[in-house]
């Protein structure tokens, strides 16, 4: 068993899965392969007010839980979802998605992603 406090994990500038940096978006990898987690990873994102994660896609699905703040999740099929604390978002594999912080405080959420195996 391994316990840590989220603030003790480094808050890094976020990048897309292809390495593209995303301005004013930060990520803590709370639980990952370095902790022995082999199936999926837990990340905690902070998106500053006005910042955006551009539309992008990848084979990994996402399971998301909104902790604080308000924002919009959208995909390339015209679906838009306003999110608030306590909302859950599931993004299936390969669905292109983007996120805007439309509020006045940080949009903070957990976003879990699988380590895929052949």
């Amino acid at each position: 068993m391994l316990k840590k406090y989220f603030k003790d994990v480094e808050n890094k500038s976020a990048t897309l899965t292809d390495g593209t940096p995303v301005k004013d978006v930060y990520v803590r990898w709370l639980i990952d392969e370095n902790d022995g987690a082999i199936n999926f990873a837990m990340r905690r994102f902070e998106i500053k007010p006005g910042a955006k994660v551009p539309l992008h896609g990848h084979v990994q699905d996402h399971e998301i839980y909104i902790l604080t703040g308000n924002g919009v999740f959208y995909n390339d099929s015209g679906q838009e979802e306003i999110v608030n604390p306590g909302d859950v978002v599931y993004i299936p594999p390969n669905e292109k998605h983007g996120i805007n912080n439309s509020g006045s405080e940080n949009l903070v959420f957990l976003c879990l992603i699988p380590y895929l195996k052949e």
Copy 2:
């Protein structure tokens, strides 16, 4: 993309992985196979004050994020961890673990578990 609010998901009496009921412990399966999630599931647990999840084990690992309340996670090696909001716990595969709500309010946490494949 699928969005829901956690309160719109049924809060069920919890059971251990072998089906044993656990008194005063409730679980919402926020994202699971019914949503198309094939890699892992997101559950939100509520443990009432004084309630306990007894020591038990299984092959699935757990990734846990404490939302509210206070409690103790322990294993069968004598390790005990006091948890508070913002704490993260990783429980490896097959490590026996138990949880006590040692506080005066509900102990609420997200607990994610893989769907294992051969």
